[in-house]
C-alpha cells in the first residue's frame, strides 16, 4: 500500500515536470512562428529581419538561437530553458526546449507588376 502511495506521488511529480515541459514547448513553438513572421515582414521591405525576430523572441521570453535566410524563406530557431521542479537531474537535456519555424515572403508589388506587364 505504501509502495503504491509513493508510486502515485512520483507519477504526480512527473506529470508536473513533463506538463511544464509540454507547455514550454507550445510556447516556444508559437514564439518561433511569430518570430519567423516578423522577420519575413521586415525582409519584405529590405530591412533587418534578425533584429525583428530577436525582439519578438525576447518579448516571448525565448532566445533566438539560429537565423537563416535562403531565397524567399526565413528560418528561425528559438530556445527556452525550463527548470524542472522535481526531476531536474533525470530530464537533463530535455530542460532546453527548442523550436524551428519558417516563413516565406513574396515581393507582392513586384509580382503584381510582372503580372500586369505580362497581361499587356
Amino acid at each position: 500500500m505504501l509502495v503504491f502511495a509513493v508510486f502515485l506521488i512520483l507519477v504526480c511529480l512527473a506529470v508536473i515536470d513533463f506538463g511544464m515541459l509540454y507547455i514550454a514547448r507550445e510556447r516556444v513553438k508559437s514564439s518561433a512562428d511569430f518570430a519567423a513572421l516578423s522577420a519575413a515582414a521586415e525582409l519584405l521591405f529590405m530591412r533587418d529581419g534578425r533584429e525583428a525576430a530577436q525582439r519578438v523572441a525576447s518579448e516571448n521570453n525565448c532566445i533566438l538561437s539560429d537565423y537563416e535566410v535562403r531565397g524567399n524563406v526565413v528560418q528561425v530557431s528559438l530556445r527556452r530553458e525550463v527548470s524542472g521542479l522535481f526531476f531536474p537531474k533525470f530530464i537533463g537535456n530535455l530542460r532546453i526546449v527548442e523550436a524551428r519555424s519558417a516563413a516565406e515572403f513574396k515581393e507582392r508589388w513586384w509580382l503584381d507588376y510582372i503580372d500586369k506587364f505580362s497581361d499587356k
Binding site: 508536473i16 508559437s30 511569430f34 513572421l37 525582439r55 516571448n60
Partner: protein, 133 residues
C-alpha cells in the same frame, strides 16, 4: 496461536490502509487538478496565440476578443483579456502587440481550495509584430 498472529496481521493491514488511503485519495485528486490546470493552460495559450495573430493582421481589439472567445468555444467566464498597447490608434505597423489571457481554473479538490484561497490562475502572454496599421 497461529489464528492470533493472522488476526494481528489483518489488524496491522487494516491500520496501514486506514492511514494511507486518505493520502492516496488526495494524491489522485491532486493529479486530476493538475491535469485540469494543464488543459486550461493549453487552451489559454491557444486563445492568446490566435488573438495575437488576429490582432496583428486586423489591428482591431474587437477582432482580438472575438478570436479569443472563439478559441475558448465562447466560454469567457472568468476570462480576462488584456491588449497592450490598448488603443488601436496608438499602434503602428512594426510595433509589438501583446495579448494576455487569464483564466481562473476551477478547484476540484476541496482541501486544495482551502490551501489556495486565491485560487489557481492560468496565464499566457503572446507578443507579435503588428502587420497592419
Amino acid at each position: 496461536m497461529r489464528g492470533g498472529a493472522l488476526k494481528d496481521q489483518k489488524a496491522q493491514s487494516a491500520l496501514e490502509f486506514a492511514l494511507i488511503f486518505p493520502l492516496i485519495v488526495f494524491v489522485v485528486l491532486s493529479l486530476v487538478q493538475l491535469i485540469l490546470f494543464l488543459f486550461v493552460e493549453l487552451n489559454i495559450a491557444q486563445a492568446a496565440r490566435n488573438g495575437a495573430r488576429e490582432g496583428a493582421t486586423t489591428n482591431s481589439n474587437s477582432a482580438i476578443y472575438e478570436s479569443v472567445s472563439c478559441s475558448l468555444n465562447g466560454n469567457m467566464k472568468d476570462v480576462i483579456v488584456n491588449v497592450q498597447p490598448a488603443s488601436p490608434g496608438s499602434r503602428n505597423r512594426g510595433d509589438l502587440l501583446a495579448v494576455s489571457v487569464e483564466k481562473k481554473v476551477p478547484i476540484v479538490v476541496p482541501v486544495l481550495g482551502v490551501l489556495m484561497k486565491d485560487g489557481l490562475t492560468a496565464r499566457y502572454r503572446s507578443v507579435i509584430r503588428l502587420e497592419k496599421e
